[in-house]
Structures are given as structure tokens and as C-alpha cells.
């Protein structure tokens, strides 16, 4: 066993006593593999983010023991719930111990009468739904990372779902969860004190305080989830438009139509269509006059989906849409999780193919602000690409967050040739991210609808977006985590301890 030098032998020995040798991982491979997430990463400085060791507990008691030990020794703790997040929540900023929850993947209970299940947070939604499907049920939390992300990661980031307009997002679907606080105490948070309650007016709504904690307020260990009948039917039409404005108008009419089975609508802009022609040729080979695409999705009982589908199709047709046919529509919707599985390639300015990672900047933006934000974000990406061939604009999309068309997950995808990054390029990227976030705030939106906002660049603007709410965040952090051991360095929360000695 390779011992990580920064942690004393006695710490490792205590952890081995709690978890057993096989669940305290000190090898270089185990640690290096947990240095990053799919968010943009300065690969030329990989070593800066390698944790000192990794532990893989399986019970809440074990997690609580680890947290208490970390407090005694003032060691940073970083929860890692799948490591699929896009805002660096699981990236160790100060080395320390990574708590990987992947073994906490038990299904403890499926309550058919109350339509809930209780699981360890290390379970993946796809695997859970394979079991629930036997009972005709589904847990409809559906991120792009659906095949690989974990319930705990969804809690840590307050996840956004591709079918959230129909079923809600992680904050709605997770009814309650056990939380190991930074001191090692364990509490259950939900709506009120009941584990299986969807609406309570008792006390503060603490569930929402811990939703999106990004590992800064403790470690979730067990969750009770809300279940739905597995849909009888799915409808996922894709339509083509000759210009963005028609597609934009159609998006509004689709998302504001009040159709009960409506699960979402998404608009792809001109840059995204160009990218799809270029790099996803297998799925959308479209003629040159197609400049924008819109997709809508519906789920539910078959008769209701058919009725809603007719209305969606009529709305689209009345607004100048051309239906792309069943093969493309069905194939593209089924491929919605591909970004986490397919190798990606961008282009240099002279058109040559290069290996690039997919990086997305997301915000929550009101419908009326979408065109202005689109133009400003593409201008930022263009300036970046003018300077460096390592960046490529892969287009934008706008996706309903709710069922009234109020605000949209607004995302620009940027390919990054990570192997070429150096400090100058990384600084330019961080500056671009800050500019992108500034545009979102300037237009009355939120820096992130989906991923969280604790990465370099954008995190600088979180106090501006939240105002006095950010001061409350600092006080909560200081009160719950007196030694600043939980994921220190995230969300600028170190300023809650200014003048004090805390974990590294």
C-alpha cells in the first residue's frame, strides 16, 4: 500500500479501524482518479488537486466517524457522489480526504403503498429504475448524466432534470434525506420531520438549505424518493426552422400551452445546428436552410400523451415548423444522455479535427432575455477562439425548467482541447466564464440553473447575484462547520472564517 505522505500514519490507522483496510485507498491511481470531474480542468496542474487519500464507507455511522475524525485532525473532507458534476463540487481544492459514496448503493425499501423508495445515495438512477420498472414505477430524475450520476450527486448539486417540467427536479423528487453534518451529528431533513411527506409547514424548510450544498455542509447518506407510474407513452417530436426567430416564438407557444403531459421543450440555435451537422452527422444530417431546431417531449398515459401530442404538433405547424420525421425525432431524444459517453471532437480554425472535451456554461434566464444573452455569450466565445485554437463554440440551447415557460436552462457548449491548456489559456477561460456569468446576472437571471456556480470565474459573482442572501450563506456555513473541514475553498466560503485558523 502506498501511503500518502501528508496524512499521518495515525489518521490512516484510525480510518482503517473504522472502515477496514480495503476501504481506505491511498494508492496514486485511486487518488489521481478523484482529482477532477467533467468540468473544465487545468490538466497541466493536475497534481494540485490530488487528494491525500480516499475512503469508501457504506453506512451513515461510518461517514459520521470519518467526519468526527476529520474534525479532530482538521483535515478537509470532500464528498464524491459519482463525480459527474459540472461545477467542481467534488474537486479537492485543499487535498485532504475524498469520501466516495459509491458503495452506499443499497435499495433499503420500496414502499408500493406510499409510492416512495429509500436508498443509499450512492445508487445510480438508471440502475434504480431497472428495479422499479418491475413494479411499474419510475424515479423520473433525468439528467444528461442519467446512466452514470448518483442520487447523492443530485442532492449535492440540486440537480436539473430533462423532464423536470413534467415531474419536477431533484429538489422536488427527493422527499427527505439523512445528512451527516460537519460536526458528525446526523439529522434527517425533508418537508417537516416526516420522511415521506411532500408538503409540510412545520419549521424552516431545511431540505432546501442542504439541496445544492456542493459538499460544503456535510454528507448526505440516505434518501427517500418520490415515485411515479412508469409512463405508458412517450412523444418526442423534433422540428426544423429556417430562422431562429420562428423557433424562438414556437418555443414560447409550446411551453406556455398548459399541456398536462408536457415534459419539456428545447430550442437549438444556429451555432448548435452547425455543430450538429459537423460533429453529430450520424443523427441530424439537415439541409443548409435549417438554422434552428425545436424539440418537445411528453410523457404519461397513452391517451393523454396522444391528445397533448396533437396539440403540440398543431402549435409547431402553425408557427412554420417542419417535422423531422419519426426516425430522427425518436433517435435524437433517446440519445439525450450521449454527452457523457461519446468521444468528442472539435475543429481548429483551419477545420482540422482535434480531440476536445465538452464544457457547458449554464444559466437560468427568463424567456424575454434569451436572444440578448445568446448574442452576448457567442461574442464572448468568439473572442476566446480568436485568441486560442484550443476553444471551439459548439452552440447554445434553451430548455424549459418548468411548465409555464417562465425561465429556461440556457447553455453554451464550448469544446476545449485540454491537452493544449497552459496558464495563459486557463486564465483566458476563467475570464470568459466570469463574463458569461456576468451577462446572466445583468439580465436578471441566475448564474446556474443546473450545474452549480462554484467554479473559478463564475464563483466571483455569486455574492453579487445573491446579495444579502450570500451573507446568510456565510453565517450558516460558519455555524454548521466551525472548523471549515467540509469542502473548504468552495463558493468563497472561506471568508466566513476570516482571521481564524481552519482546515488547510
Amino acid at each position: 500500500m502506498t501511503i500518502a505522505p501528508p496524512l499521518a500514519d495515525e489518521v490512516v490507522e484510525e480510518l482503517v479501524h473504522v472502515l477496514g483496510t480495503e476501504h481506505v485507498h491511498t494508492s496514486k491511481t485511486a487518488r489521481m482518479a478523484r482529482a477532477r470531474v467533467p468540468a473544465p480542468f487545468p490538466v497541466h496542474r493536475w497534481a494540485d488537486y490530488v487528494p491525500d487519500l480516499v475512503v469508501t464507507p457504506v453506512t451513515t455511522d461510518e461517514v459520521a466517524e470519518i467526519v468526527r475524525l476529520a474534525n479532530r485532525y482538521r483535515i478537509p473532507l470532500v464528498p464524491r457522489d459519482g463525480g459527474t458534476g459540472l461545477t467542481d463540487g467534488a474537486r479537492p481544492e485543499r487535498r485532504g480526504i475524498v469520501v466516495d459514496v459509491k458503495r452506499m448503493n443499497q435499495i433499503e425499501e420500496i414502499d408500493l403503498d406510499n409510492r416512495t423508495c429509500t436508498v443509499g445515495v450512492g445508487i445510480n438512477m438508471l440502475k434504480l429504475n431497472e428495479v422499479l420498472g418491475v413494479h411499474g414505477l419510475i424515479y423520473p430524475d433525468n439528467p444528461a448524466s442519467y446512466p452514470c450520476s448518483l442520487v447523492g450527486g443530485r442532492i449535492g448539486t440540486s440537480g436539473w432534470s430533462l423532464v423536470g417540467a413534467r415531474f419536477g427536479h431533484s429538489r422536488d423528487l427527493v422527499l427527505s434525506f439523512d445528512m451527516v453534518l460537519p460536526t458528525g451529528d446526523v439529522i434527517t431533513v425533508g418537508d417537516g420531520g416526516g420522511r415521506k411527506v411532500t408538503k409540510s409547514s412545520t419549521g424552516y424548510q431545511l431540505k432546501h438549505l442542504f439541496m445544492g450544498h456542493q459538499g460544503t455542509l456535510g454528507i448526505a447518506t440516505r434518501a427517500t424518493l418520490k415515485l411515479y407510474p412508469k409512463p405508458e407513452a412517450e412523444f418526442s417530436p423534433f422540428w426544423a426552422f429556417e430562422d431562429f426567430d420562428d423557433a424562438y416564438r414556437t418555443l414560447k407557444h409550446l411551453s406556455q400551452a398548459g399541456i398536462a403531459t408536457f415534459a419539456g421543450a428545447v430550442l437549438f440555435d444556429e451555432w448548435k445546428v452547425a455543430y450538429l451537422r459537423r460533429d453529430d452527422e450520424a443523427y441530424i444530417p439537415q439541409p443548409g436552410d435549417v438554422r434552428s431546431l425545436v424539440c418537445a417531449v411528453a410523457y404519461g398515459n397513452e391517451d393523454e400523451v396522444r391528445a397533448g401530442g396533437k396539440r403540440l404538433m398543431r402549435i409547431a405547424r402553425d408557427n412554420g415548423a417542419r417535422y423531422l420525421g419519426d426516425e430522427i425525432s425518436e433517435g435524437d431524444w433517446a440519445a439525450r444522455h450521449d454527452r457523457y459517453a461519446t468521444p468528442l471532437h472539435g475543429r481548429t480554425r483551419d477545420g482540422q479535427v482535434v480531440p476536445m472535451s465538452w464544457h457547458c456554461e449554464d444559466s437560468a434566464i427568463s424567456y424575454t432575455e434569451l436572444p440578448a444573452v445568446k448574442d452576448k455569450w457567442h461574442a464572448i466565445a468568439a473572442r476566446l477562439r480568436e485568441r486560442f485554437d484550443a476553444f471551439d463554440d459548439w452552440g447554445m440551447f434553451f430548455y424549459t425548467s418548468g411548465d409555464t415557460g417562465t425561465d429556461f436552462l440556457t447553455e453554451i457548449d464550448i469544446g476545449i482541447w485540454e491537452q493544449r491548456l497552459d496558464d495563459e489559456m486557463w486564465s483566458a477561460w476563467v475570464e470568459a466564464k466570469r463574463d458569461i456569468a456576468a451577462v446572466a446576472v445583468e439580465h436578471g437571471g441566475s448564474i446556474s440553473a443546473c450545474h452549480g456556480a462554484c467554479r473559478e470565474g463564475e464563483v466571483d459573482l455569486v455574492p453579487m447575484e445573491l446579495g444579502g442572501g450570500y451573507d446568510v450563506m456565510l453565517k450558516v456555513k460558519r455555524a454548521l462547520d466551525p472548523n471549515n473541514i467540509m469542502n473548504p475553498g468552495k463558493y468563497g466560503l472561506d471568508r466566513a472564517y476570516e482571521g481564524e485558523v481552519s482546515a488547510r
Partner: protein
């Protein structure tokens, strides 16, 4: 029954140019133009059966994802026909 012939498998069908940046060799299978993959990413030699295996596997995956989420998929083409019915 036709036996396995190495030469057949390693000579892909003649490419047809679809767009300035895209070619096709097999029906509904689109590829980046090989001229764009000469400097930083070079193409590997693939036997034809392996290309088709990957394509078919992908279709299997997409079909599985539909079944995983719902009992049936409503046809948009049929909905369009119903809209046109008097």
C-alpha cells in the same frame, strides 16, 4: 453462405460526399471527411463488420432507452396524418 474474406472487410464501400465536411459509406452512417483528420487525429483502420456492429449496437441502445422510460413511443407522423383528417 459467404465466408469471411479479409480483403472485403478492409475495403469500405466507396465514399459519397454529403456535405463539405461529411461523407457516407454505409446507409444512414455519416462520417467526418477523412481530409479533416490528417493532423491531430488520424483515422484507424476498421473492418466493415465492426463499423456496422457499432452502429447496430447504438440502435439497440436507443431502443432500450425508449423501453426503459415508457411502454410505447407515439409516432409524430401518425399524429400529423390525424391532424389532416377531416
Amino acid at each position: 453462405m459467404k465466408g469471411y474474406r479479409y480483403a472485403d472487410e478492409h475495403e469500405p464501400p466507396q465514399a459519397k460526399q454529403v456535405t463539405e465536411t461529411t461523407i457516407t459509406r454505409f446507409e444512414h452512417v455519416y462520417e467526418v471527411d477523412p481530409d479533416l483528420m490528417t493532423e491531430h487525429v488520424t483515422q484507424q483502420t476498421f473492418p466493415n463488420w465492426d463499423t456496422l456492429r457499432i452502429v447496430h449496437s447504438r440502435h439497440d441502445h436507443l431502443d432500450w432507452m425508449h423501453r426503459h422510460w415508457a411502454g410505447t413511443v407515439i409516432s409524430g407522423e401518425q399524429i400529423l396524418r390525424e391532424l389532416d383528417e377531416p
